[in-house]
Subunit: 380 residues, 2 copies
């Protein structure tokens, strides 16, 4: 049975998402949603389209609904923000079965409920292919004295430790493997074998099909970083975070570029022209190849000398947190990551920010290790 | 020449939209935008897809860029909110010519600049057809003493005057015709004749191609309504507003339904079950057919007895403001609408809210005048 009217879709949405929520003054059904807003507010918009960001051929409807919201929440996690709500633009094919419609919103609603955020409203339209545009917003975390903790921002400096925080389904608590490359492997095996790939590569498939936004880690890290900055009277934020959606190779330079951009903004605020001098920053990575997940090691025959490592450095869709921090802050962050109850998070130290431009793994330029150029929708 | 990379699109966006703005703490390029937020905040998300919401075959790129933002701003106008910023999800076909890309963002940037709102960020993806998902947000207006004026909300009651505020390109200041039905006529003639239709029906085409969100009217009306409510010590808001995007026939019942919904919310807040009793509200319309625009009167051979009026009651895409107000407030709103400098706004009184359910024009049920069922993406 497929969809007959817009009202039918609205009824399904109403069945899964409560209309009222303490943070909403006016919810769905009006021209605008209205909410008592935190200030400052962090906000992010992401698009997810069938056959571009997911494939309805091997994602279950529930997984699609989960993932399209999760990738947005991951942006808030990278800011250390506490999510407050989201709006949805829903592109629905005319022939979508009603059961699939319900599955989509069941998956999305479960994730929204886990983070206690209301769906404030949005828009529905017919379209050739399934698609979602989600906008999430969140406020700053507060410390135990109620003080607002600044959002995390980029601005890595030389000497910072670079690490990657990921959460791996079914990982052993004793020695959790890093999620680096796992979603890329999931994409590879699911594209090739469909859901049958879940048997041989369950963790890789789960990483792609059902990423878990690191929200709690984000705002707990923000609290630790703010306290550390106060204790050590630092002028610059000691922790910088971004989420990895386009792969390490494309995203790490963005993290390294952050300081230059923040400096330009600061100068402009003080009426100065943005500095024109280039501040080249690079990274020296030295993590052991064996730290990657057993499924990754096996599938790509990764060797200690770095053979087979390339896809893990290129793979997008990770949605872990890529971080740079001053070395003194690292132990507290590691302890926090290990403290996480239940599913343990894996914090893998990748290397250091360097004054020499370029990104190297054990001295080798990663450009030479990789055939491609990272992920770009338009260039491939 | 078509698009080679995502970076090329970002460069075009950067050329048209300033990265810095007083209301942004952190703009494009990070995981999230950050802004010092007003509270309460009104927020709205709308999708606009090629061949669903516009047609790139007869819209110019500039008109598309303008319209997709305008329809969102119209939602803020209906809340009486002052716009503060917007985010953009942009679906871009691989073969879009670079000149069209520039045209899209030129048109969007001109409207954004006219309302002084920054583009905070968003997402870009490749897709089969051009598409936009825009989220706008805005704060409440303030009166001369700096007091925050509540957003406009629905909640029409029996006896309210129903009127439609529209702004018509090229209308004579002396006797502006109503925009009612004009966008529908524009759709009809552009679908049939393409841009050649601009010669015979310039106002109708302009209404469809380049709608003007009634933002100033929205927040000025909000100020007048708040002052009136204070002066007359009214318990309920004296003015209720929505923007007409699906046509009068579908949207007027939504305006009439607002009170029931607000009452249910209020009861729920006080721990009561939402009332189950039906509060039927209807409308008696009695506006003269001759008040419609000369292009509409001519094209549909509208007669004083209502013959030919039906399409004007059905047509969507109006983006004027549909309002219900207590009769005592009307003169101040009419004066405000006429005061608008330059392009005069047309305020057409349509009729009254009635205790009898259904919508009638001069006693005739409009269901009997109309063949269709209003606009629904899925049912046609």
């Amino acid at each position: 049975m497929s969809i007959q009217s817009e009202d039918q879709i609205l009824a399904v949405i109403d069945a899964f998402f409560p209309r009222r929520h303490p943070s909403l003054l006016l919810g769905r059904g009006d021209d605008c949603a209205e909410f008592a807003s935190a200030s400052p507010l962090a906000l992010s918009t992401d698009l997810s389209l069938d056959d571009v960001h997911f494939r309805s051929s091997y994602f279950s409807p529930e997984e699609i609904g989960h993932k399209v919201l999760a990738v947005n929440l991951s942006d808030l996690a990278a800011a250390g923000a506490v999510p407050l709500g989201f709006s949805l633009g829903f592109i629905c094919p005319r022939d979508l079965p009603l059961a699939a419609l319900e599955g989509l919103f069941r998956g999305m609603a479960a994730l929204a409920a886990a983070h206690d955020i209301p769906l404030s409203g949005g828009d529905i339209t017919v379209g050739d292919k399934l698609g979602f545009s989600i906008t999430v917003w969140g406020g700053a975390a507060r410390d135990h004295s109620g003080r607002v903790v600044p959002f995390l921002r980029r601005g890595a400096v030389e000497g910072d430790v670079i690490f990657f925080l990921s959460q791996v389904e079914g990982a052993a608590a004793s020695r959790p493997a890093s999620g680096l490359g796992l979603a890329r492997l999931g994409l590879e095996v699911l594209e090739k074998g469909g859901r049958a790939a879940l048997r041989d590569c369950p963790a890789a498939c789960a990483a792609l099909l059902k990423p878990r936004p690191q929200l709690a880690a984000g705002w707990r890290f923000a609290l630790l970083a703010a306290a550390f900055q106060d204790d050590h009277k630092l002028a610059l934020p000691p922790l910088k975070v971004m989420d990895v959606s386009d792969g390490l190779r494309r995203d790490l330079p963005r993290l390294l570029d952050g300081y230059r951009r923040l400096e330009a903004v600061a100068k402009a605020r003080h009426g100065q022209q943005p500095g024109r001098q280039h501040i080249p920053l690079g990274a020296d990575l030295d993590f052991p190849a064996a730290a990657l997940h057993p499924e990754v090691l096996r599938a790509w025959r990764v060797r200690e000398d770095g053979a087979g490592l390339a896809p893990a450095l290129e793979g997008g869709d990770e949605y872990g947190l890529l971080c740079a921090c001053v070395p003194g802050l690292l132990p507290a962050l590691v302890a926090e990551a290990e403290r996480e109850a239940g599913q343990p998070a894996s914090l893998l130290v990748l290397g250091r920010v360097s004054a020499a431009p370029g990104i190297r793994w054990r001295g080798k330029d990663i450009g030479d290790m990789l055939p491609g150029d990272g992920f770009d929708h338009f260039s491939r």
